[in-house]
């Protein structure tokens, strides 16, 4: 292991800790702005959506040009399945399996 890699990885470890615990270093008297404190209820869903959407709708830096796209079709199937079963929500594993069952054949054999 050379010094360059070692220092980079050490630094990245500290960066992970810094980011994950950013607002946890300060002691008790520190308060978040009120609007942010309230708005954080939407943070989990917003974060998930912001991570998933570019993965599905963007390929190599540009918006997909056709709806005939394996990831989009797989996600649509999952959404539809979830909507059908919305009163008895399916487990995450079911969603993963359904998504892969749609995605892998389309991606591997039809190259879309």
């Amino acid at each position: 292991m050379d010094l360059y890699h070692f220092l980079s990885l050490l630094g990245m470890t500290l960066v992970t800790i810094l980011a994950r615990a950013f607002f946890l270093f300060a002691n008790d008297n520190f308060k978040l702005p009120l609007w942010l404190d309230r708005a954080l209820v939407f943070a989990p869903i917003a974060a998930l959506s912001a991570i998933i959407a570019p993965e599905v709708f963007v390929i190599e830096g540009s918006l997909i040009s056709s709806l005939w796209n394996s990831k989009l079709i797989a996600c649509s199937c999952c959404l539809f399945y979830f909507f059908l079963k919305r009163f008895k929500p399916p487990s995450v594993l079911e969603i993963i399996m359904l998504g892969l069952a749609v995605y892998l054949p389309l991606h591997l054999y039809f190259n879309i």
Binding site: M1, H5, F6, S8, L9, L10, G11, M12, T13, V15, T16, I17, A19, R20, A21, F22, F23, L24, F25, N27, D28, L32, D37, A39, L40, F42, A43, P44, I45, A46, A47, L48, S49, A50, I51, I52, A53, P54, V56, V58, G61, K71, A74, C75, C78, F82, P89, P90, S91, V92, L93, E94, I95, I96, G99, L100, Y103, L104, H107, L108
Partner: protein, 233 residues
């Protein structure tokens, strides 16, 4: 323990995602000790993937660290949220909990406990924290197991299978269970559109910007709705 059980269905996604990261580390030219150090110490999949090309190109260290931090910015938002749950603990313990909290375990935790326990009720706080620790542990093990598989079985795993997509499907599965109101649906749609719109921004800043704008907008809508409900004098 319960925290671990409820994360179990998503494990497979975490596992395959870790596996892809493991394969990617070896493919980008890191050797085994370096890859192991990255997996065990850095422990942040998206920033590991973002930094690999920079490491291969021997970019300056500050560029690498800045990239890692920007890709991790969403955790800064999460840490603001976790503060309400962990604030009665000493600093070292708070920081340790937060370090082990990745996307999925954070989201599962907030979903299970939308409201933090009162700060005088230490027993309830401990229960919530135990839940978080359980799901963190399972998340950690499935990530590490996946990464190890990826590292040592690189040559048997074709990278173009797109198995990393399983990780996104796990996120999708959880996201759908979170959409419990119209405003949350709005947050999801808005945030997704913004993240795609801003996709050209460097360092994955699109994720951060999309989260901040969409939660601020939804908060305004919620305030507006609350004002409408108030009886008029």
């Amino acid at each position: 323990m319960q925290g671990a059980l409820e994360l179990l269905p998503a494990c497979f996604g975490i596992f395959t995602w870790g596996m892809m990261t493991g394969v990617a580390m070896i493919h980008s030219g890191l050797n085994y000790p370096e890859s192991l150090m990255m997996t065990f110490c850095v422990f942040a999949g998206s920033s590991q993937l973002a930094v690999l090309p920079l490491l291969a190109a021997r970019a300056p260290i500050w560029v690498i660290l800045a990239t890692a931090f920007c890709v991790n910015l969403r955790f800064v938002v999460f840490s603001a949220h976790l503060r309400n749950y962990l604030k009665t603990y000493p600093r070292g313990y708070r920081v340790m909990c937060a370090y082990f909290t990745a996307d999925l375990s954070y989201i599962q935790f907030i979903k299970r406990f939308p409201i933090p326990a009162l700060s005088i009720d230490q027993k309830a706080i401990d229960e919530q924290t135990a839940y978080l620790a359980g799901s963190n542990a399972l998340n950690w093990f499935s990530w590490m197991l996946g990464s190890m598989m990826g590292l040592f079985l690189t040559h048997f795993i074709p990278i173009d299978w797109g198995l990393g997509f399983a990780g996104f499907l796990a996120l999708l599965g959880i996201a759908m269970t979170l959409v419990s109101s119209h405003l949350r649906l709005l947050a999801a749609v808005l945030s997704g559109m913004l993240a795609v719109y801003f996709v050209d921004l460097p360092l994955k800043l699109n994720t951060m910007l999309a989260i901040l704008i969409s939660i601020a907008v939804c908060d305004q809508f919620e305030l507006y709705a609350a004002r409408q409900l108030k009886p008029k004098n």
